[in-house]
Amino acid sequence: MNPDYRPSPSLGDGAPEDSAHLLAEMMRIRKFEDAILGLFSKGLVRGSTHLCQGQEAVTVGVASQLRPGDAMVCTYRGHGATIAQGVPLDACFAEILGRSAGLVGGRGGSMHFTDASRGAIGSNGIVGAHLPIAVGAGLSAQYRGTDEVSAAYFGDGATNIGAFHESLNLASIWKLPVVFVLENNQYGEYSPVAATTPVERLSGRAASYGMPGWFVDGNDIVTMRATAAEAVERARAGEGPTLIEADTYRHSGHSRSDPAKYRPADEVEHWFARDPITLLERAMTRDDPSAQQVIDDVGARVDGEIRSALDAALASPEPDPAERFLDVYA
């Protein structure tokens, strides 16, 4: 197996012109989830929640290449993917809080974020189950004769489930415009990849489907964006699906109940030093120390945005319980 490592353009080449924008996009996700952590501790979040802190460059990079009309599906660890689509933060908070202003009226919760108007056609609680749906969105784009694409995020652990296999195969044989974005955050729940998966580079599995499989540094926003651009371009051009394996790391445990004590300290240290936000900030200030001001400004602006979104969400009423009967059928 020869999965293709893609160094391509990177932050090593210098910070991009729109660094401030990219930083803001990643910070929105980071700080949104900081706030969710706060809500946890106040007992305001029911069930489970899965944070994606540390993985922001992947979703921001991919989302930067999507356009209105494109479809995006993601997992229970989908706050980042959904927010990167430009979904309003107040509706995201409200959904997790179970309020009527929530994305889906409080009926879904953290694992079921949908904002179809922005292409976010569903987060999914079943590992791998959204991949066939992404294939269907790709089929639809092709059938309708558009150059729309479908993007699907999923984890390393998901590459072991049957639906992954069937989806990549069908997307390939029908040459559908699907970008499969494998967020390899090194663990599936508590299990390191090597404990469950007998190959080192998961992107190598693309070969089983006659599909390009690329492996990139998922914490480098420039690399991530460039790689996504290529895969999306292939899809739009009718060249079929691509599998991108983005190496990354989740900062916290699998879900709210996991303190992630199973991770070796040096591993954690290594990856925190490679935090995608830190990497971008470092690149910004390396050539231009005055960029620190830009960074601080972005941080402050996003803090404000988060605060007012959260205030708005908290001000939203509980849903009318009668609404639970809506939308079971058309």
């Binding site: 991949l131 066939p132 749906i133 294939v135 969105a137 639906a163 069937e166 195969n169 069908l170």
Partner: protein, 326 residues
């Protein structure tokens, strides 16, 4: 009108639906080039071309999921799962995805799709190719379930299923393929989902039965008539939504309920119907409601065994006689 058989009605109704709406596409294993493993879909590829009629790999999860993804992004896919038994390999896509997708999206997304499956026993296919699988889905809100028993119903219900904005599980009974009936030479009207059909009227007992059991029950009703017992036979046609009203109307006259189904009793639509009737309208009932059901064993292969697994007209006759004598 034209006389065709149940098998032919499948391609006829699909073709009609595809002519009406360019957003309808159809795919499944060997449905296109080969015209279907049951030869139920010949000619569709030829008429509608490879963009709209597609063969797939053996990947039922991908098939159903692809239909779902296409449905929520503007199309009206019809997917085939060859034998209903194989719904088990894509059960997650059906119950956790398709059934809940509108709800989990807070109503943002519609799921206008049809999953066609060949259902049921009687043809010697053994335990893994003969199950009446419709009952696996009853406890899962969000699906509609259709089980036509005649050519006319198959044709009209298929048109309705494809037009419907909700997901429909469409069970075609493989032991009814040779049954004949009439369809219009061109066009045709949908039969609304959720309306039972009263296929015979009689004042002594209400028999509710679908698919093969509709025919078995009609034979039983003929036999009963010779004994002077007049049966109403109601074919619910769709199990979800279920037309309780038509059953209750008949019970007002007959006070006796016999449900006949090709599936074991527990967790079945028949048991559910009886439970609804007695808990809401016990006063309508003068005799114990009977559930004439298949046996609680996997479907056996040998003819003498499989025949007994299926409810027979004589079982229906006995159940009715007991109800009338009560």
């Amino acid at each position: 009108m034209e006389t065709i058989n149940y098998r032919q009605a499948i391609a006829r109704s699909l073709a009609e639906a595809m002519r009406r709406d360019p957003d309808v596409l159809f795919f499944g294993e060997d449905v296109a080039v080969a015209g279907g493993a049951f030869k139920a879909t010949p000619g569709l590829l030829e008429e509608f071309g490879p963009r709209r009629v597609r063969d797939t790999p053996i990947s039922e999860q991908a098939i159903v999921g692809a239909a779902l993804g296409a449905a929520v992004t503007g199309l009206r896919p019809v997917a085939e799962v060859m034998f209903a038994d194989f719904a088990a390999v894509c059960f997650d896509q059906i119950v956790n995805q398709v059934a809940k997708y509108r709800y989990m999206s807070g109503g943002q997304l519609s799921v206008p799709l049809v999953i066609r499956m060949s259902n049921g026993a009687g043809a010697g296919f053994g335990a893994q190719h003969s199950q009446p699988a419709e009952n696996w889905f009853l406890n899962v809100p969000g699906l509609k379930i259709v089980t036509p028993g005649t050519v006319e119903d198959l044709f009209g219900l298929m048109l309705a299923a494809v037009e419907d904005d909700d997901p429909v599980l469409f069970f075609e009974h493989k032991n009814l393929f040779a049954v004949k009936g009439q369809v219009p030479a061109i066009g045709g009207a949908p039969i609304p989902l959720g309306r039972a059909s009263v296929v015979r009227r009689g004042g002594d007992v209400t028999i509710v039965a679908n698919q093969q059991m509709r025919h078995v029950s009609l034979a039983a009703a003929d036999e009963l008539a010779r004994e002077g017992i007049q049966a109403t036979v109601i074919d619910p046609r769709t199990l979800v939504p279920f037309d309780d009203a038509t059953v209750l109307d008949s019970l007002r006259e007959t006070s006796r309920l016999v449900v006949v189904q090709e599936a074991p009793p527990d967790g079945s639509w028949g048991a559910s119907l009886i439970s609804r009737v007695v808990s809401k309208n016990l006063e309508l009932i003068d005799a114990p409601p009977a559930l004439v059901a298949a046996e609680e064993i996997p479907v056996p292969y040998a003819a003498a065994m499989e025949e007994r697994w299926l409810p027979r007209a004589s079982d229906v006759v006995s159940a009715v006689q007991r109800a009338v004598a009560y």
